[in-house]
């Protein structure tokens, strides 16, 4: 009886494993294969040729620029926000807590609409930006704002728990040893949260690279000028430039895979240090 039950369980497991492999295979591997075929179907030479096109380079460059902006802004401000949320007590803290998560819930397209209502034609802040001679909407400032907005929660949510767990004893210990608050931050606090910060930053990069909706609305999609990689793929398909779309999509996919591997590596690093050490 026991043997038969065991055999039955074994069969169920085989079927389950098969289904899982088939499901993930169909969902991930098949499209990946098809994407690679589209991009590299003509060999490596056309692939490189597409990559060298000025509009493609400009789009990839714009994505890199926006990602860097999001990483710098949310890396610093996100860490500061995490400090405030973990260390300080003030009225409205819970509201601020909830507000940080808004970008998770809000559709990026809505973010684009909001930015247009602020900086677009007849926008609320338009008189100010016009007076200053700043070009915001349909230029990189609005795109940067959109990217920073949608990636806001990652660093806050990764650094917060690390800070919480770390407490303030290590910092106080540094003070008793004569370290100024400045030295303490860079020698004790920052190294203490570095894995949380690195993890949050990597998630920020992944999200920034993939952002489409909000950026599409505020970019105006001027080829070679305000186009990001994702917007380029969208326009290339519309223009029946299939090869261009495939090549850029492949680059985006490779970037994602790279970030994914990086995240996995960091998770393991962090896991090794997870036990209380102080």
């Amino acid at each position: 009886m026991a043997e038969r039950a065991g055999g039955g369980q074994g069969r169920v497991r085989v079927v389950l494993i098969g289904a899982a492999v088939l499901y993930v295979g169909t969902l991930v591997l098949l499209p990946a294969f098809s994407l690679l075929r589209g991009a590299l179907g003509g060999g490596l030479r056309p692939f490189v040729e597409v990559l060298a096109r000025p509009d493609v380079l400009a789009a990839l460059g714009m994505t890199a620029k926006l990602t860097a902006f999001a990483v710098v802004v949310n890396g610093t401000l996100g860490t500061a926000l995490a400090f405030v949320l973990v260390r300080d007590r003030f009225v409205g803290k819970r509201v601020l807590h909830a507000l940080v998560d808004v970008p998770f819930a809000l559709s990026p397209v809505a973010v684009g609409v909001v930015l247009l209502s602020l900086f677009g034609k007849g926008g609320l802040l338009r008189p100010i930006t016009d007076a200053l001679g700043w070009e915001v909407a349909f230029a990189w400032p609005a795109m940067a704002m959109a990217t920073a907005f949608v990636t806001l929660p990652f660093v806050v949510r990764e650094v917060g728990p690390v800070l919480e767990e770390m407490g303030t004893d290590q910092e106080l210990a540094a003070y008793t040893l004569g370290a100024s608050p400045f030295v303490t931050f860079f020698r004790v606090t920052l190294p203490g949260i570095r894995w949380g910060l690195a993890y949050g930053t990597t998630l920020t990069m992944a999200r920034a690279i993939g952002e489409f909706g909000a950026v599409l609305l505020v970019s105006g999609g001027i080829a070679g000028k305000t186009e990001t990689a994702t917007v380029f793929v969208y326009r290339a398909l519309e223009d029946r430039d299939d090869r261009g779309a495939y090549v850029v999509a492949t680059v985006l996919a490779l970037a994602s895979i790279g970030l994914l591997l990086l995240l996995d590596l960091m998770r393991r690093k962090r896991g090794a240090r997870a036990e209380p050490g102080g």
Binding site: A173, T176, G178, G192, G278
Partner: protein, 358 residues
């Protein structure tokens, strides 16, 4: 004077009540002093005020004769060992110990020399390259100590230094702290809730309760002449008996001892009796009650053997519980067993006149 605390007051964050209430004491240079009391008694807050990690609402702190009340923790030249050890997790043992020297801009060779010397002192010379999470609790504790000593502080402050360690390591480290203190003669204050630890390690003990100093004295003074009912109850006494003065004697139920001086008839008293100050005269069925000594009868409820000692839980004939400790040989000699009736007598008791101010 190494450390002077003058009328320190610290109010609770909520504003009501005082965590530290008019605390004053003086600690001589090179002394080893314990701040003893129950948790929540304010002793850690006092220690943190001495360190400069917290500022008092009122009162002054003097270190080496200098008023440091408004001096930042960084400039007080103190060493502090946290209850959690608070080692820098991303640094090796050597980096942890050298931190205080490094930020003072000491040369590499000097840092190396001091760190090696201290690691030898705490017997961790082999483990300099390890990270804190690769060490045992006792080892972490010693790293924390070495780190605190590295910049050469004039005052060493330790918050429950042995609290989180197992019994054997705790004994070892206590012994070791004592020896370290003898070698370096650095003014040392440690906080503990363990009366045995305080009495066995410190030169002097400051007993604190509910934010106030109850008594300051040598371990002998604290143990033999507790100044308050709290100290008597906290230090070594398990038994607490209630009674009143009658005819110059303090009658405690069926037992009696000398009345405290100046207490007239009818005064309510509380008596604290240490387990080894109770004399077990013998089992009632086997000894005669001698009329010359005041003895009471009690029932043996439980015998608990702890190593070579036996704790005997008794109920007096007036229903007050009483705990006695005897060696296991003595128990065998008396032929004690649970359920038997015994004669008991008090050798000594700390008496306090009941305070009816409430």
């Amino acid at each position: 004077m190494g450390i002077v605390a003058r009328d320190l007051v610290k109010r609770f964050a909520g504003g009501s009540g005082r965590a530290v209430d008019a605390v004053s004491f003086e600690i001589g240079s090179g002394e080893l002093v314990a701040l003893l009391g129950p948790s929540g008694g304010g002793k850690t807050t006092v220690l943190r005020i001495l360190a400069g990690l917290e500022s008092p609402d009122e009162g002054r702190v003097l270190l080496r004769g200098v008023d440091v009340t408004d001096v930042r923790v960084q400039e007080r030249n103190i060493g502090f060992v946290f209850q959690s050890y608070a080692l820098f997790r991303h640094m090796t043992v050597r980096e942890n110990v050298g931190f205080g020297l490094e930020i003072r801009g000491k040369s590499r060779t000097e840092i190396d020399r001091v760190v090696s010397e201290l690691l030898a002192l705490v017997r961790l010379a082999e483990l300099g390259g390890r990270y804190p999470h690769e060490l045992s609790g006792g080892q972490r504790q010693r790293v924390a100590l070495a780190r605190a000593l590295a910049p050469g502080p004039s005052v060493l402050l330790l918050d429950e230094p042995f609290g989180a360690l197992d019994a054997k390591v705790r004994l070892e480290l206590r012994e070791w702290l004592r020896r370290l203190h003898e070698e370096r003669a650095i003014t040392t204050v440690f906080v503990t809730h363990d009366q045995e630890e305080a009495l066995s390690v410190a030169d002097r003990v400051i007993v604190m309760n509910r934010g106030k100093v109850e008594q300051i004295g040598t371990p002998e003074e604290i143990y033999d002449r507790p100044a308050t009912a709290f100290v008597a109850g906290f230090v070594g006494s398990i038994n607490e008996l209630e009674g009143e003065v009658r005819g110059g004697r303090a009658a405690l139920g069926s037992l009696a001892v000398h009345a405290p001086p100046g207490a007239g008839d009818g005064t309510s008293v509380r008596a604290f009796v240490r387990p080894h100050d109770v004399e077990l005269v013998g089992v009632t069925s086997r000894v005669e009650k001698r009329s010359s000594v005041e003895v009471a009868t009690a029932r043996v409820e439980r015998l608990v053997r702890v190593g070579w000692m036996v704790r005997i839980e008794l109920t007096l004939d007036d229903d007050q519980p009483l705990t006695v400790e005897l060696t296991k040989d003595r128990v065998a000699e008396l032929g004690l067993a649970e359920g038997e009736e015994v004669f008991v007598n008090l050798r000594d008791a700390k008496l306090f006149v009941q305070d009816y101010s409430i």
